[in-house]
C-alpha cells in the first residue's frame, strides 16, 4: 500500500515530445516508473525513445487511456495550455474509467485558469488533481517505484513515513531528513505553491491516516493563505499517527511574493508564526529548522512507541 499511486502504477506523460516532458519521462523510466506512453496533440502514432526503448504517443488523452488503461498522467505542458491539459485528462479519466490521478508540474499557470480547471476536476469525483507548480508524487518501491514528477528519485527509499509539502526542494530536504534517521517513505506528495491548486493538505493527511504502510507524517507548509491552519485543526480531530511539521517563510516581509505565487503575506494573514502556532495547538511536533526534521521525527516515533 501507499497513497493514490501504487509502485507499479501505469503512467502517461502529457507533453512527452517536448523538451521538458521527454527529459523527465526518461528520468522516470530510469527510476523504474511504469510509463506506458504519452500524449501530444498532432503527434499521435509517433514513438518517443526513453532509456533506449520506444514508447507510443497518442493525439488525445481519451485514446491514450483507452489503449493503456493508465492510472495516472503527468503534465509537462507550457502554462498557456496547461489548464486545458488538466481538463482533458480529467474528462478522459472520468469518461473512460471513472477514476485517475492527474499530476501537473507546470509552473506559472494563470490563477483564473486554475479556478476553472479545479472546478472542472471537482465535478469528476473519481479524478484527483495534484499540483500545479509542484514536484509531483512518488511512491518508492522495492524495485524502483513510481516517480511521477521531477524529484530526484535516488534520494528516496521505500518506508513508512508519508510526506506532504507545498515546496519542491524543501520536500527533498524532508526526504533526506527521514533517510538520516534510517526511515524511508510510503508516498511523498508535493501539493504545489500556487494559490489555487488541486489536492490539499487535509486530503493527504486523511489518506496517510488510512494507509496501513504510513506510520508517521511530515507536513511542510509555507506562508500565505490558511491551508496549514485548517489542516492542523482537522488533524487534531482525525489523525492519530504522529505528525512532524515545518513552515517556511518566518522571515518573509509582508506583501512581497516570495517566488511561489501563493507565498505572500497579505493583510497580516498567512504568517509563518500563525501557522506554527496552529501546528503546536494541534499537537504537531514542529522543527524550527528543516535540518532538525529528522531528530524531531525520531523523537515522535519513539514517543509513539514506533522505535
Amino acid at each position: 500500500m501507499a497513497i493514490w499511486i501504487e509502485e507499479d502504477a501505469k503512467v502517461l506523460v502529457q507533453g512527452i515530445t517536448g523538451k521538458q516532458g521527454m527529459f523527465h519521462a526518461d528520468k522516470m523510466v530510469e527510476y523504474g516508473t511504469n510509463i506506458v506512453g504519452g500524449c501530444t496533440p498532432g503527434k499521435g502514432g509517433q514513438t518517443v525513445d526513453l532509456q533506449g526503448k520506444p514508447y507510443p504517443v497518442w493525439n488525445s488523452m481519451f485514446e491514450a487511456i483507452e489503449a493503456t488503461d493508465a492510472h495516472a498522467t503527468v503534465i509537462y505542458v507550457p502554462p498557456p495550455f496547461a489548464a486545458e491539459a488538466i481538463m482533458e485528462a480529467a474528462d478522459a479519466f472520468d469518461s473512460v474509467k471513472g477514476e485517475g490521478v492527474v499530476v501537473c508540474i507546470t509552473e506559472g499557470i494563470p490563477t483564473l485558469d486554475m479556478v476553472k480547471a479545479v472546478a472542472f476536476v471537482e465535478n469528476r469525483p473519481g479524478v484527483r488533481l495534484i499540483g500545479p507548480n509542484c514536484p509531483g508524487i512518488i511512491t518508492p518501491g522495492d524495485n524502483g517505484g513510481a516517480k511521477i514528477g521531477i524529484m530526484p528519485g535516488h534520494i528516496h527509499a521505500k518506508g513508512r513515513i508519508g510526506i506532504v509539502s507545498k515546496s519542491g526542494t524543501l520536500t527533498y530536504e524532508a526526504v533526506a531528513q527521514t533517510m538520516s534517521i534510517d526511515e524511508g517513505q510510503s508516498t511523498c506528495v508535493g501539493i504545489g505553491g500556487d494559490p489555487v491548486n488541486g489536492t490539499g493538505f487535509i486530503e493527504c493527511l486523511a489518506a496517510f491516516q488510512a494507509d496501513p504502510q504510513t506510520e508517521a507524517i511530515v507536513m511542510i507548509g509555507e506562508i500565505g493563505g490558511n491551508a496549514e491552519q485548517e489542516a492542523a485543526a482537522w488533524a487534531a480531530e482525525h489523525v492519530t499517527k504522529p505528525i512532524v511539521g515545518f513552515v517556511a517563510g518566518a522571515t518573509a516581509p509582508p506583501g512581497k511574493r516570495m517566488g511561489h505565487a501563493g507565498a505572500i503575506i497579505s493583510g497580516g494573514k498567512g504568517t509563518a508564526e500563525e501557522k506554527f502556532e496552529a501546528f503546536a495547538a494541534a499537537g504537531i511536533a514542529c522543527a524550527k529548522d528543516p535540518s532538525e526534521l529528522g531528530a524531531v521525527l525520531l523523537e515522535s516515533l519513539k514517543a509513539a512507541g514506533l522505535r
Binding site: 483564473l112 530526484p152 524543501l170 493563505g225 517556511a248
Partner: protein, 402 residues
Amino acid sequence: MNIHEYQGKALLKANGVPVLEGVHCTSVEAALDAYDTLGSKVVAVKSQIHAGGRGKGTLYNPTSREHVMDGGVKIAFSKDEVKTYATNILGNLLVTIQTGDDGKVVNNLYVEAGCDIAHEYYLALLVDRENKAVLIMASTEGGMDIEHVAETTPEKIHKITVDPNSGLLGYQKRDLGLALGLQGTSLKSFMKSLTSMYNMFVNNDCAMVEINPLVKTSDDQIIALDAKVSFDENAEFRHKSWDELRDLSEEEDVEIRAKETGLSYVKLDGNIGCLVNGAGLAMATMDVIKLYGGEPANFLDVGGGANEEQVKTAFSIILEDPNVKGILVNIFGGIMRCDIIARGVIAATEALSLDVPLVVRLAGTNVDEGKAILASSELNIHPADDLAEGAQRIVELIGGVA
C-alpha cells in the same frame, strides 16, 4: 503586478463602471490645465503611487527629508489650491503606512472632479484560495481600513463566492446590494456596475480589484471613487497591453533584472546574501539564518534548472547590495546537478573577485563530485553538510550574531 489608480479607473471606465472625470498629470502646469478642463469647482488632487494609505500619508523633501505637507490626497476648492497641492506632491517623497519609512517619490498625479456623496461603501473582488473561486466582498463601512472593519465588526462585511461554472448570478448581485441597504435606482446601478466589474476581473486576469470607497451620489448613482487594481503576473503572456501599464519606477530595478534572467529575487535588510534553488527552500534558508542570529540580505531562488551563467548573475545581483558581508549558497540538487553548481560558484567567485566569506552547502544529485570540485579549488569556500551548519558557519564568519 500593480497599476496606478488613474490606470485602474481608465480600465473601469472602459468596462462600463462609472467613474468621475479625471486627468492624469506629471507636472504642476498640467494639473492647472486639468482644473480648467474639468470645470468642477471642487477637485481631488491625488498622489499616484503603488501603496495604500495615501490620504493619511506625509510628504517630505526627498533630499533634505524636510516635512512638506500632511496628506497625499487633497481636496482643492480653487485653482490656487491645486497649484499648492500639486507643487507639494510632485517630486516629493510620500510616506504611508504601506510604503515603509523610505516612502516613494510621487511622479504621477491624478486630478479628479468632485461629486456629492450620500454614502461610502467598500467593494473588492479577489481570488479566494480557500474556495478556489472569485470572491466579492462588500461593506457599508467604506473609506475605512477594511482589515479594521473585519476585526471589529465582521458582520458588516458581506461576501459572495462566484461558482466558475455559472459565473456571477443575478440573485447574488441583488442579495449583495440589498445587504448594503441599496434599493431602487441605486440597487440597479450597483448591480450593473458589479456585472461590469466581474467581467473586467475575469477578462483582464485581475488578482484584485478594490474600490474603497465605492460611493452612492445624492442622485442615487454608484461611482468608483478609488481603484486599486492588480493583475496576475502568470497571465502576462496573454495581455500585451500590460507592458504600457507597468510603472518600472515603482519596482525595484534589481528585482526586474533578476526576473529577466529567470531568477526570483527580493531584497531584504540583512547582511547575509542567500543563493538557493526552490522558493520553499530559499525561504527556509532565510529563516534558519535568522534562527542562528544572522539577518538575510535577500530571498533568491535560482529555480530548478539554473546554468552556470544564471549562478553568476545571481552572485552579481547579491553583491550589488553594499550591506552583504557574506554569502550562503544552499542547493539541494534534483534536476540541478551539484557538480554544475560547484563549477558555477567557482566561475562566479573568480569572475567577480569575491571578497566576502562564502559558505556552500550542497546536497542531492552528484553531491560528491560537487564537493570534490569545491575542495580542489584554491578559493576560500567553506563547505557545510546541512543547512543548520551552513547558517551557523556564515553567521560566525561575518563576525557573529547581528
